[in-house]
Symmetry: C2
Subunit: 466 residues, 2 copies
């Protein structure tokens, strides 16, 4: 198979790598205002790159938050129009002291690039951009209509993406969305994602007194905000790992026997999965790990703090304690209802004379499921078969792509995830990395997909648009 685009990509290998290293050197952390500069720098680099590739109508789209970067190539009327999605923002690097090399100074070790955001999502989005660049260089055009939208708020729950989509509804009109975000599940497993969990989250503060009190003067006769918070958090789960919040599981559809069987057929080494984390197996009884991860909701406290946390001791009874909490929800559930159920439960645990204050809701997204027979899914499955020599498994992810839910609601189209990062790459943790081999695989698969889409017509997509 000598594809001239693949040859071009092969000859450009070191330039492609250098461009990725430059991109991940930029600390584009969207969740923390101290990184605003890094966000601006990442946008500038991407705008230059879009122009350099040959995209037209290049611009930023902004709706009060971090701007998205947009470009397009509309040349072939009867071919499908595909909106390629990715995000240039990254997770915070904390705890920085646990990184073996600085998070924003990429280092290549043992065939892996280590840097914050290299797996989520700068490596995968670079594959999309490099594939386009190679097609332009070799063929001076793309085989179908492309729109590219890279948002800057994925890691904070895509706060203004909905506004951006609504404000630029016709600019962004498309037959389907191809996401460069989402992550492959297991290294070496040829698979395509057909669904993701949704999420919702908020933080809350427990207050038990007007001020911190001295444990020698008040110890034993006043409540302690940390004790109250601890009890609230403890009560969220039963000891077996099930969530104890009433109505928490409401709406989650039953898993059919056929579906259970399909999940069992996936080559998944549960033992290895857990031993890689150093964590014991755990969770809701009666469900396999895959069933839990893909089709059952869960609740995690992501941060908890209060009182004296610096070196040494302090005999204080803290009057305030804080926690950040997120839920993952499944098809059939409403993020707002689940959030409300959790808040109601926390309020009910609050002892008399104490109070709970809730912060703003964060990232309320429904879960997502791809409809059977979708033409972009067909094209992706064909491209993966072309690339790896066998048909991909259909899997799901336990994480959330807020935009898939959003895109269906606002643009009326479906999203197929086609990322070449892998779920074990410690994104959202120290020492995030991206495999150099994934860069190669991704470029080959995206080239194959571009060829497959070049053989399709826009008419094939009509029945799937709403």
């Amino acid at each position: 198979m000598t594809d001239s685009v693949l040859e071009m990509l092969e000859s450009e290998k070191s330039e492609i790598l250098n461009r990725l290293l430059e991109l991940v050197s930029i600390p584009s952390v969207s969740t923390d205002p101290t990184y605003l500069d890094g966000m601006a720098k990442a946008r500038e680099l991407l705008l230059r790159r879009f122009h350099g590739i040959g995209l037209s109508n290049v611009q930023t789209l902004e709706a009060g938050g971090h701007a998205a970067v947009y470009g397009e190539w509309l040349a072939t009327r009867d071919r499908p129009t595909i909106l390629i999605y990715g995000h240039y923002d990254v997770q915070p690097p904390d705890p920085v002291e646990l990184w073996n090399s600085p998070p924003f100074e990429p280092e290549i070790r043992n065939g892996r690039i280590y840097a914050r955001g290299v797996s989520d999502d700068k490596g995968p989005l670079s594959i999309a951009l490099e594939t386009m660049a190679a097609f332009f260089t070799v063929e001076q055009t793309l085989p179908f209509n492309v729109k590219v939208l890279l948002e800057g708020e994925e890691e904070t729950g895509s706060a203004t993406l909905e506004k951006i989509l609504r404000n630029h509804h016709s600019l962004l009109s498309t037959d389907a969305v191809l996401s460069a975000d989402g992550a492959r599940w297991l290294p070496g497993l040829n698979a395509v994602n057909v669904g993701s969990r949704g999420n919702a989250g908020f933080e809350f503060t427990v207050k038990t007194a007007d001020k911190d009190l001295h444990s020698g003067r008040y110890g034993g006769v006043v409540p302690n905000a940390l004790h109250v918070l601890a009890r609230m958090v403890a009560e969220l789960h039963d000891p077996d790992g099930s969530v104890a919040v009433p109505s928490f599981y409401q709406g989650a559809r039953e898993i059919s026997d056929t579906e259970r069987q399909a999940l069992t057929d996936i080559p998944f080494n549960e033992h290895e999965f857990f031993s890689n984390t150093g964590a014991p197996s755990f969770g809701e009884p009666g469900y396999s790990a895959l069933e839990q991860l893909w089709l059952r909701p869960c609740l995690d406290v992501n941060g908890m703090w209060g009182g004296y946390t610096a070196p040494g001791g302090k005999t204080v009874i803290p009057n305030e304690a804080h926690a950040k909490l997120t839920v993952r929800i499944v098809p059939g559930q409403d993020p707002n209802l689940v959030s409300k159920a959790v808040k109601d439960f926390l309020l009910k645990q609050c002892p008399e004379g104490c109070s709970v204050r809730f912060g703003a809701d964060r990232g309320q997204s429904a879960a997502y499921e791809l409809p059977e027979g979708h033409p972009l899914l067909t094209a992706v499955e064909a491209a993966l078969t072309d690339t790896f020599g066998s048909a991909p498994h259909r899997i799901r992810i336990g994480g959330t792509l807020p935009m898939a839910d959003l895109v269906r609601r606002v643009l009326g189209v479906d999203t197929v995830m086609f990322s070449f990062s892998t779920a074990d790459e410690d994104f959202h943790a120290p020492n995030e990395f991206f495999r150099l081999s994934s860069l190669d695989e991704g470029l080959r698969a995206w080239t194959a997909l571009f060829r497959r889409l070049g053989e399709m017509t826009n008419a094939q997509f009509f029945e799937f648009r709403r």
Copy 2:
């Protein structure tokens, strides 16, 4: 009553205040190594002051931690020798943002000096030093033998005080100890302390996996260190406020009916006590607030942290979570046994596959009770009667004076607390203050006590020395 020493103190009023303001401007925080400079500066100031007052044999006593400052005046062979104790170290100022004026830039507002350490213990120890200074100025001597020891580790549990006492056993030999630390219980209540609770503490870390995990990839099937910690902390207490740790109350002596009645006779406005804190009343059923605070042990988590605590959200499953914990114990209990009972209980709560790691023990002190008929107690009661016109109530404190326990064990003598700070002065919290009126009362009472001790002989103390 025209006492020439009191007249001298009155005429020196503004100099006395300025010297105190200078002392509290020094950030002598013993618990945090970033304040080492402040600790050294406080010692230098006190050494100069000891020389200036007229004390002899002035020196620092050091045993591997923060040095104590020592001075003495030994002139009158048949009079008692009293070791005056205080501490020049202070609590950390956190959370600094809640202070209305900077913690180490003292401000006088509404008859109160606001500064970290002004109440605990720099104001009270200054009263002792100023009283001595005035006696020297007026009478060129002190009416009894004085040794002064100001330690620098009270706020960290007096880690090397025992070594200092043992290494300088004959230098520090005394008939009794008079403590300028300890705090008066209620503003306006003429009282003398006859006992204090002991304490013990440690920090611990819960570990549930080798690294932080992403809640999208693992949410639901792995334990979360914050959930495990929360459950451990929650299980420490029953919902009614009692401590649920087995053997926790073991050794605590019964409170007799006579004792209960004496506690009831103390003019204590429970409603006001609680409404000043903004906290609801709470705690072990079957005991009044005073009984709980003075004669029942308690357990408080003083700090708790883990996961993502910066602005914004992060969908992380933290693999580690931390807590700092202290207990207050009562006469009859052993701090090591109580600590061990709590640790055993925490270990028992730890789920399989997870681990608990304990930090070093901090501040293990037994509780303290003054023997009936002690001559220093008699002198203090007389001095308070002289000063306020009525006999003081005998009360206790819920806090801990580690040195009282230590001094009895090492020097074989008892300690009477004679501090003029007040327990409502927010030491160990933001906006610590000291009343200017307490400064006046303290100087009068210390002068009266010096007169009373000048009428006593050392022989009166023999039977109370061990």
